[in-house]
Each structure stands twice: as C-alpha cells, then as structure tokens.
C-alpha cells in the first residue's frame, strides 16, 4: 500500500475514533461534568464506574442485565423462527409459497415503530387478560420484537439456504433421516454464518431500540440501557456526564467484542444484504 493513501486513511480513522476516545476520557475524568471532561486524560479516577454500580437512583446493573437478557432471547428467538421459516420456503413447495414470501417482504416495509400506538393499545389489552405478556413486562417486549423476526430475516436466510445443494438433504433422507433431522443436523450447521449474522443484528437492533422499549417498560427496574441512559443524560445534562460515559462504555462493550470476534462473518453477511439498525 502506497504511503499517500494513509493521508486519506488516517484522518478518517481519527474522525471515526475520536468520539470513542472522548467517552473513555470522560468516563475516567474526576470532574464528571461536560465542561470538565474536555481536558482529556488530565486526571484519572474510577469513581464514575463505582457510582454506576452503587447509585440506587439509576439501577444501571439492572438496565444492563435487562438489555442483555432481552437482546439475547430476542436474538435466539429471531434466528430460530427465521431459520424455520427459511427452511420451509427453501425446501418445500406448497400452496401460497410465493404469495407468502412476497407478503413477508411487503409487511417488512411497515416498520413496527410506525405502529407504536397500536402496539401500546394491544399490550394494554393483553395486560388485562395475561399480565406476563402485557404492558410493563419484559417478556411481552420480547414477543413484540419476535413478531418482526420473520419479516426481517426470512428472505435473507432463505437465500443462504438456497445456496446449500438439495442433494445433501436428499441423501440424508435416503439414509432414513426425518425432515427435522435434516433441518437440525444437516442444514443448520452448514448455514452457520448467516445464523451468526442474523443473531448479531437482531441483538444490536434490540439494544438500540428506544421507542418500543420505552413504551412497554415504564418501571425503572425493568428498563433497558437505551431508555435508562437517555433519561440519565436528558434530565441532568452535563452533571452526570462522567457516569453516562462510563455506562455507555460498559453497555457498548459486549457489542464491540462480538463485532471484533465475528468480523469475518459480518463482512460476508453484509454483502448478502443485512442492514444494521
């Protein structure tokens, strides 16, 4: 690589990474306010991290645990539901198959966020009948997310399933495998890259969701990172900047680590048409 190319590369990296450096500095800065944080790394303290885990006003550990649990369950559920549907669409020929696929692409164009009035009313009604799935329940929120799983993922995963030759299932079936065995033992291991990508993206999308999570979960102990950190900043901007920075870093850590580890899967999945939300 020629040296002059770094002239373009280095500024780009600087612009891209600078805000992240700032968060690290602010989270360690003893002043804790926005103004004070501008002296990057002038002094270092771990106080904000301590506050984060002890302050009862902002139950950060709960937010973190909630976000992880909701994110992981949603990711696992989305992958499972999406893979099942992709298997059906890829390997079977049935009435309504084409219409079903088109319908999924179409319904996906209507983002759930647009329907939040209706989601709010639906969950209020569900709460009357079955509180564990209604308004104010984390499981209820997961269900809402899973409702969007098919629309977003099926088409992408079906394309990947299609690229696995059908001879493989045929020979397994001749050996006496049932359709479930073909699915779980033959196909799923072969499409692992797309499973990883879909899981990762639905995890990230869940972490980032602010609107629906804020709508469904109102009790501070049940809230997610997105909702909690937003309130932390918006109510007392400047004052709790150090605490926010510490929280943002810890909150972002799992995703950053996952991305670095799964880099090779991601580049492949991205070109297959996955969109980060």
């Amino acid at each position: 690589m020629r040296a002059w190319r770094h002239l373009a590369g280095l500024p780009a990296v600087a612009v891209a990474l600078f805000p992240l450096v700032f968060v690290v500095a602010a989270s360690l800065n003893p002043s804790g306010t926005l103004t004070g944080s501008n002296d990057l790394f002038a002094a270092v303290t771990w106080d904000h991290y301590a506050t984060l885990f002890t302050d009862e006003l902002h139950p950060f550990p709960r937010w973190f645990a909630n976000s992880m649990a909701i994110g992981l369950i949603t990711a696992a559920g989305s992958v499972f539901l999406g893979a099942c549907a992709a298997y059906a669409f890829s390997r079977f020929r049935f009435r309504g198959r084409r219409a079903g696929l088109l319908g999924l692409v179409f319904i996906q164009l209507f983002p759930q966020v647009l329907a939040y009035v209706a989601i709010f009313l639906l969950l209020s009604a569900v709460k009357e009948v079955f509180p564990p799935l209604g308004l104010g329940s984390r499981l209820g929120l997961v269900m809402v997310y899973l409702g969007g799983a098919l629309g977003v993922n099926t088409y992408l995963m079906k394309g990947f399933f299609d690229s696995v030759p059908k001879d493989l299932d045929d020979s397994a079936q001749i050996d006496g495998a049932s359709h479930a065995q073909v699915f779980f033992l033959v196909l799923l291991p072969l499409v692992r890259p797309i499973l990883v990508v879909v899981a990762l993206f639905s995890f990230v999308a869940t972490m980032n969701d602010f609107v629906i999570a804020g709508l469904v979960l109102t009790d501070p102990d049940q809230q997610t990172l997105a909702v909690g950190l937003y309130q932390l900043v918006s109510y007392q901007l400047g004052q709790s900047w150090g605490v926010f920075s510490a929280g943002a870093l810890i909150g972002a850590l799992p995703v950053l680590v996952l991305f670095q580890f799964l880099q090779r899967f991601i580049t492949g999945g991205l070109t297959a048409g996955a969109v980060k939300t």
Binding site: I107, V113, Y116, V117, M143, L146, A248, G273
Partner: protein, 466 residues
C-alpha cells in the same frame, strides 16, 4: 413415549390458550376470544396432522407475525380513520356516564349523612345506615387515611342522586345538572340541548361541545386535515421535504465516503479492524454522545476544537439540520466502508486484468467495470438504508428531540423533525394526544416507503440483469 414428549409443547400451549379463553370470556372480549380460539384450533390441526410439514415450520413465526405485526398494522389503518385520542377514548356510553358524573353538584340544603366506609375483598363501599351485608367490614381510621384517593372517588346511588364523601365520615347528596335523554340520544341542562352530531361529541347549536367525547369514524378527515388544515399543512410539507433530504443525503454521503475509503485503503486489515469500532458502537449512544460534544457552551467541538467559539450547533435551525446529517454520516460511513470493501473484493480480479490487457487505465477500469458491478450488488442495501433513515427516529430524538422548535407552527414541530418523530409527538407528546392523526401520518409514511422501495428494488433487479 417419544410421541408424548413431542406433544408436550403443544399441550403447554393449549393449556395457556385455555387459560386465555376463560379470561377473555369472563371479560366478554368476544373478538379476541374468537381470534384465540381460531388460532389454537389451527395450531392443533397443524401439529397433530402427519402432513402439512412446511406449516409446522412456519406456524410459530407466523402466529407472532399475525399478532404483533399484521394486527397492529391493520389497527393503525383502522385508527387512522377515527378521531381516537385524548377526549375521544371510549364508547358513547362511557362518555355519557363521565359527562353526567362531571356535572354533579351538591343538592341545595342537603345535610351530610354520617356514613361508614366498608370493604370486602379489596372493594370499597359506603354504608349509610343499618347493618352491613355479610362479608363487609368497616375500615379503620388508618385505612381511611391510606386509601383516601379511592374513597373520595366512591359513588353510591341514592335518592335520585349520588352520595359522595370527602372525609370518609360523612357523605352528601349530589345530583347531576345534566340529563341524558336516551330516546333522542342528547344531553340537556334544561335550556341548552347538546346533540350527538355524529362527530363523537355532544354539541350545542352554537358549537359548544361537552367533554369527553367518544370514538367515531371520521372517514378520510385525518388525511385531508394533514393536507388542507393551514396550521398542519405547512409544517407537514416542510417535515416531508426534510425527511427526504435527510434520508437521501445520509445514504449518498455515507456511501460516497465509504466507497472512497474502500477504494483508497484497498481492504487493508488494520483499517477494517479500526473502522468497525464506530460501526459496532450502539447508534443511540453515539447520538447521545454527539449531543454532548456539540453542546454550545460546554461541548468539546466548540470549547476545544474551535477554541471557545459559541456555535449553536443544535439550536440554530439550519446548523441543527447540518449537525444531525453529519452525525448520521459519522454513524453510517464505517458500515458503508465495510460493505464496499466486501463488494469490491467479490468482483473477480480477472475482469479488471482483462480490461488492463486491452489498454484501459486504472480510472477507466474503475468507471466502466468496478463501479457498475459494485452498484448492482449494493443497490438492495442502499434501498434498505434509505428506508431505515427515512424512519431514523433515534438519531433525531437523541440529538435534538426534533428541535429547535418552530415557534410559529400551531403543532409542536421543530426544524429537524422527521415524519416519524412528528408522529411520535402527535401521538404521545404535548398537551393532547391525537392517535387518529398520528396513525394517518403513519400510513402516509408507509405509502412513501413502499413506493420508494418497490421502485428501488425494481431498478436494482434491472441493474443485476444488465
């Protein structure tokens, strides 16, 4: 045994469904009852039959899809044609009850009765005289103090009026000043008659309306209101235009920057590992972070980079537009860089080599071979990113909250509001919630996205075929 194990999940689902049916039945929610019954029957048929194999794989996802996506979309479509919102929440009967209760005044010369507040199974009642019925017990003084709000809301019908208590010891007779005439469906206070004009409120001849009203169909009124109401049309069209500008420029700038970097850096591993960091950093946190960095008085950009300048990055209408756009490009360009790197590497090198053999320079190879192939393979991503940015609520809400607010507009709208954040404000923000209008705008957004996406995908397919 094996079959029994396999049926266990179905049995659990059926048990839950049965519980739901009983609960719905006891609440007389017959529509939901019918829906749940039909759904349970279909699920049982699918999993008990030996055929219908694809349905077995589709059913769980489809059920969730129907409830949490299809139903809510249809409900949004329905609500868009109603006046649903604050003051128009329930049925006409609810509205009548609320209006009559609200009109009650103390009967002239009425003396307070001594009463006792009684309780049974958590429910409260007023005992005027005599012995309480079985199971009711009087509240202690401490309980009366603790449940004050509940007690003052108690209403006991008596003597052509209602007994209400303020202190939990005595009650006074109240009578409604308005009367409801079921035959004509109107409410009167003796002189003025408030009629049901079919618009979801009791309205007098001079236009005064009683509150609350109730939910009725208003036809396409919400849609025409968006386009004709002079107070809404102006802001709506401005927001619509800005939403397009924001979505198009976000995609174009981040794609251009990402592509340029991908070409220059040629898939260099270190750059890829570094640029994946901002991509992986959760977008909502990035937006909150930039809100701090761009703060006028204390932000790093003004304070340090610009040496103490006071540039109103987020509070000047035009600068705020520029800021949200630039921040969004910051969030998105590493993603585009990764996409373009992947797509460029997927182009077979033999193609470029063949062109070079024929005497094409590097610029020519780029323009006639690499770019067209790259565009064809990334077009679906670009369309999807456009649709995503069209509804990019997070960036706007976390950075500016849609502001700075347009002081001249009658509705709460700011210069960086996208359609989606406008919907949010109509539905949940401000003094009065207008679900009907919010749903109507949602439907408009959906139409726009559907049209753009269909056109985009068709174009992409043509590119692929070419």
């Amino acid at each position: 045994m094996k079959r029994a194990l396999r049926l266990l999940p179905l049995a659990v689902a059926d048990a839950l469904a049965l519980y739901g049916l009983v609960a719905l039945g006891s609440q007389r929610s017959w529509w939901m009852f019918a829906g749940l019954l039909a759904g349970t029957a279909a699920i049982n048929r699918i999993y008990l039959s030996r055929r219908a194999v694809p349905a077995k794989y589709l059913a769980p996802g489809v059920v969730l899809l129907l409830v949490y996506q299809v139903y809510v979309v249809l409900y949004t479509g329905y609500a868009a044609f109603t006046n649903y919102g604050d003051g128009h929440n329930g049925s006409k009967a609810d509205a009548v009850a609320a209006i009559l209760a609200g009109s009650e005044v103390k009967v002239a010369g009425a003396v307070p009765y001594p009463i006792r507040v009684m309780e049974r199974d958590g429910r409260l009642g007023l005992l005027v005289q005599g012995r309480p019925a079985a199971g009711w017990r009087p509240l202690t003084y401490g309980e009366i103090v603790a449940r004050q709000a509940e007690i003052t809301a108690l209403r006991e019908p008596a003597d052509g009026g209602t007994l209400k208590t303020a202190d939990g010891m005595t009650a006074t007779l109240y009578r409604a000043t308005l009367t409801y005439d079921a035959a004509t469906g109107s409410i009167t206070d003796g002189t003025t008659v408030y009629r049901d004009t079919g618009r979801g409120a009791f309205t007098a001849a001079d236009g005064r309306a009683l509150s609350p009203g109730w939910k009725v169909f208003v036809g396409h009124e919400n849609f025409t209101r968006v386009l004709t109401d002079s107070g809404i049309r102006g802001p709506f069209l401005e927001v619509l235009a800005w939403t397009f500008v924001f979505a198009i420029l976000s995609v174009a700038l981040s794609f251009g920057l990402g592509l340029a970097l991908a070409l220059l850096l040629d898939g260099h591993r270190i750059y890829r590992s570094l640029l994946i960091f901002p991509y992986a950093f959760p977008a909502f946190m990035a937006a909150l972070l930039w809100q701090g960095l761009l703060n006028t008085d204390h932000g790093f950009v003004n304070d340090v980079l610009l040496g103490g300048a006071r540039v109103p990055w987020l509070s000047d209408p035009w600068l705020a537009k520029l800021s949200v756009l630039l921040v969004n490009v910051w969030i998105a360009f590493p993603y585009m860089f990764l996409i373009c790197t992947g797509a460029l590497q997927a182009i077979p090198p033999t193609l470029s080599e063949a062109a070079q053999m024929d005497g094409a320079g590097p610029w020519r190879v780029l323009r006639t071979i690499k770019l067209p192939l790259l565009l064809a393979s990334t077009a679906p991503v670009l369309v999807a990113t456009f649709a995503f940015n069209f509804n990019n609520f997070n960036v706007i809400y976390m950075l500016t909250g849609g502001g700075p607010r347009d002081a001249n507009a009658p509705v709460d709208v700011g210069s960086t509001d996208l359609l989606i954040s406008l919907v949010y404000k109509l539905a949940f923000g401000g003094a009065s919630r207008n679900y009907g209008l919010a749903c109507a705008v949602s439907i408009v957004i959906f139409m726009v996205i559907a049209a753009v996406s269909l056109a985009g995908f068709r174009r992409a397919r043509r590119l692929e075929a070419a």
